[in-house]
């Protein structure tokens, strides 16, 4: 790019002034920053106030629901459950508070004969049932609501309905309701009674307060500086979920997620993970048919499973709108069946251990572990979903919860690091009272330990060379490298001071390959070299040649990544072997 073109026009006078040898002062313009509005306090008059001469206002709050994302409006509205009710006087002051019950009903008193009031049912709750605020954006922090006016001449009964068309504010209430569903599920399945069977199983009561940002027609991808593709996400390090409300103002034909219960619960699953478990996921994009970082695959796989557990349905449905097929066509959606393997992750063709790198293999494993037998509505003989050879496991959800959240035999324990399905299954095998998941592990190509990722190493150890496949199609870049086939990942604790890691290459087969060595810091993103402690990525393809790094490193956990790649693009060998040495001593896998 021409450097001059990047020069703001405003800089030209200054440039000229400098050239001509005189100076002038530049007025600095302060652009006003929009202040972030504080989040309004929860209704202050709870329990509800009573009045000496009252009228009673009762009512029902409900919300409409659209099938398949933005399809037809369902005939029967759903109740707005356990949500906040505010009553405002003419000046906007809050004079009364209430909450809807489990059927959407509410009731409160107002002083008789004192004029009209505004009744607001809000898409937020902060009670023993659910804690979540569904708001418009992180600047306004304005919660969604429906409202109506009520007089006080006599007692009255109201029916308030959030519409699924027009303002589509029903979307906000559906999000709140699905979060309530998740809390109801966890209270039932991680109760004291359910947890009693597993030592170290934390009892669930109600999840911490979650902030959900959603606006009809708005794509939160804007916050990521992204393109037009619709996206929902959980923001790690916060309690914030961002749900896709449509694209470019379109709530009728574009992709939206406010009625996609799978997506809402998936993102809330990440929130539950952040609140009760721990994650080492580097985040980033993921797709069902891709081999991805096992830490990411675990986090996403759990979130997929969580939505199935809460809904009780063995399917992950993401609706996509119908914008691509025009007016009149039915709403499009994508289903991932949690009972049926796909061609790309069928263990019949997938190598053992590859499931650790595939999110839906993990989702199916967890679902198979807890799903009821037989599942209602599933087929008879021959239906793979009722293949009892794979349905021998019947673990309570509390067993999953114990590993997921446990500080003793679980992800919250001090020994947990580089959390992936391998580590989860290592813990699961050690849970007292836990079931044997060997059949479902094998079905999904999952190892019961960390042999495929973050493999612990014994130093000094005694072992022969380790083999590593080389993907002939890779060009040596991280993007093209297959994390499962082309890479080995060894977890190593370094007690500070000098650290020397060396790999010695040996050729397998008739064609030489190349070997690279990368030592990643804990928390790394694969391929992001800024996260590497050190690398040695020279061309090394003759027997006995080495890659070595020697650094002084602080104490901590590191990931030693041995990467195989073709010696020349497209012409590499298909396998190699190597020996690993740490500070001069042989290092051997010890999963």
């Amino acid at each position: 790019m021409n450097a001059f073109k990047r020069l703001p026009i405003a800089a030209v006078p200054g440039l000229l002034a400098g050239f001509l040898g005189f100076s002038c002062s530049t007025k600095k313009v302060n652009i006003p920053v929009t202040p972030v509005a504080p989040i309004a306090s929860y209704c202050p008059h709870l329990p509800s106030r009573t009045f000496p001469s009252p009228v009673t206002i009762s009512g029902v709050a409900q919300y409409q629901f659209r099938n398949n994302g933005n399809g037809t409006v369902n005939g029967t509205p759903n109740p707005v459950r356990h949500a906040e009710v505010e009553v405002l006087d003419a000046a906007g002051g809050i004079v009364q508070c209430a909450e809807t019950d489990g059927s959407g009903a509410f009731s409160f008193q107002l002083p008789a004969g004192t004029g009209d009031y505004t009744v607001k049912v809000n898409a937020r709750a902060n009670n023993a049932n659910v804690k979540a605020y569904v708001m418009n954006n992180p600047t306004d922090n304005s919660y969604h609501s429906i409202s109506t006016s009520v007089g006080t001449a006599e007692s009255a009964s109201l029916t308030m309905t959030a519409p699924a068309t027009g303002s589509v504010v029903a979307g906000a209430f559906n999000i709140l309701d699905k979060i309530l569903d998740a809390n109801v599920f966890l209270r039932a399945h991680a109760s004291a009674a359910e947890c009693a069977a597993f030592a170290g199983c934390p009892t669930f009561t109600v999840a911490p307060l979650a902030y959900v940002y959603w606006t009809a027609g708005f794509n939160p991808n804007a916050y990521l500086g992204g393109g037009a593709g619709g996206v929902s996400f959980f923001l790690k390090g916060t309690n914030e979920l961002y749900i896709l409300g449509g694209i470019a103002g379109d709530v009728d034909s574009s992709d939206c997620d406010h009625f996609d219960n799978s997506i809402i619960l998936h993102e809330y699953g990440h929130f539950i993970e952040a609140s009760y478990s721990a994650s080492d996921s580097p985040g980033g994009r993921h797709a069902p048919n891709e081999v991805i970082d096992p830490r990411l695959a675990w986090s996403e796989g759990f979130a997929n499973f969580f939505q199935a557990a809460v809904t009780g349905k063995a399917v992950y449905r993401d609706t996509e709108g119908n914008v691509s097929c025009g007016t009149g066509c039915t709403q499009a959606f994508h289903d991932e069946d949690l009972e049926t393997v796909e061609a790309y992750d069928d263990p019949a063709t997938m190598a053992a251990g590859e499931g650790n790198f595939r999110e839906f293999a993990i989702s199916r494993l967890l679902w198979d572990a807890i799903d009821p037998h037989p599942v209602s509505g599933e087929g008879g003989a021959g239906d793979p979903r009722n293949d009892l050879a794979f349905e021998t496991v019947q673990s309570p959800f509390a067993e999953v919860w114990t590993v997921f959240t446990g500080a003793v035999t679980g992800f919250k324990s001090a020994s947990a690091r580089f959390r992936s399905s391998g580590l989860f299954l290592s813990f699961q095998r050690a849970v007292a009272g836990g079931q044997d998941w060997a059949t479902i592990r094998a079905r999904e190509g999952l190892s019961g330990d960390q042999r495929d990722f973050a493999t612990p190493v014994a130093v000094p150890g005694a072992c022969g060379p380790q083999t590593l496949q080389v993907n002939g199609g890779t060009n040596g870049s991280f993007e093209a490298s297959n994390l499962f086939y082309d890479n080995d990942f060894h977890a190593h604790y370094h007690a500070s001071g000098p650290l020397t890691v060396r790999v010695e290459y040996s050729q397998l087969g008739g064609t030489p390959a190349d070997i690279d060595l990368i030592v990643w810091k804990n928390g790394f993103t694969y391929g992001k070299l800024g996260d590497a402690l050190a690398t040695s990525r020279r061309s090394r393809s003759t027997d006995g040649s080495t890659e070595q790094i020697s650094v002084t490193a602080p104490a901590g956990w590191y990931m030693i990544n041995v990467m195989g790649l073709p010696h020349s693009t497209g012409a590499g060998g298909t396998a190699m072997s190597y020996d690993l040495y740490i500070n001069g001593q042989k290092a051997c896998p010890d999963p």
């Binding site: 026009i9 006003p32 954006n137 306004d140 923001l235 470019a248």
Partner: protein, 207 residues
């Protein structure tokens, strides 16, 4: 007759001043030419509705009263501008704008267009149209009512072109409405008031 010493010195000073002046003129001409070439190349570039920030984003000048950035204005046959009819929201909400096209010469056919970025939708008004028989000095107004669905910056652009043989010729004008992000400082497209940068959001977003 030999020149006197003072004459020689004066001649040399005059020559030096002239040379310096010529150099300055050349430099100014070069800078202006570069800017003009840049403007011209931007003006002639086909409008790209997917990248409304394209023209002269770095030259934005913001009117603090209306929160309208005037991005670019070409002194062609048609002069166009935006007027805010209601308060332009810094965050979300409805607002009305008026696009004004003034013809400095007769225009047999003129096209106007509103280009809206994501998260701004039309509540009332036409987003484009064709006007025939515009006389010199005519002022044509095109109102539109919009709604910002989310924090901005809301890139709302009004353009007017003279049409010739069915093709737009020359003139276009670009405006941006926002409330905060000073593009001239090289900031990214951060939604207004978003407490975090897109980089921070991207780093921590778990989809």
């Amino acid at each position: 007759m030999p020149k006197r010493k003072q004459d020689i010195l004066r001649d040399r000073r005059s020559a030096a001043i002239a040379a310096l002046g010529a150099l300055m003129i050349l430099a100014i001409a070069w800078i202006v030419a570069m800017q003009d070439l840049h403007s011209l190349s931007q003006s002639l570039a086909a409008p790209d509705p997917t990248d409304p920030l394209h023209p002269r984003w770095d030259a934005a000048k913001r009117d603090p009263a209306t929160a309208i950035h005037k991005i670019h204005k070409t002194e062609g046959v048609i002069l166009s501008e935006i007027e805010a009819l209601t308060d332009v929201p810094r965050v979300t909400g409805a607002f009305k704008l008026k696009g004004v096209a003034r013809a400095r010469a007769p225009v047999s056919e003129m096209r106007y267009s509103w280009i809206l970025s994501e998260n701004v939708r039309v509540r009332a008004g036409e987003t484009q149209g064709l006007v025939a028989g515009v006389k010199a000095g005519d002022r044509r107004e095109f109102e539109i009512e919009l709604e910002a669905l989310a924090p901005g910056p809301h890139r709302v652009i009004f353009r007017a072109w003279r049409m010739k043989g069915g093709e737009p010729v020359g003139n276009s004008a670009h405006y941006v409405i926002d409330g905060e992000t000073p593009a001239a400082q090289g900031a990214a497209r951060v939604p207004i008031g978003s407490p975090r940068s897109p980089e921070d959001m991207r780093k921590n977003a778990v989809q």
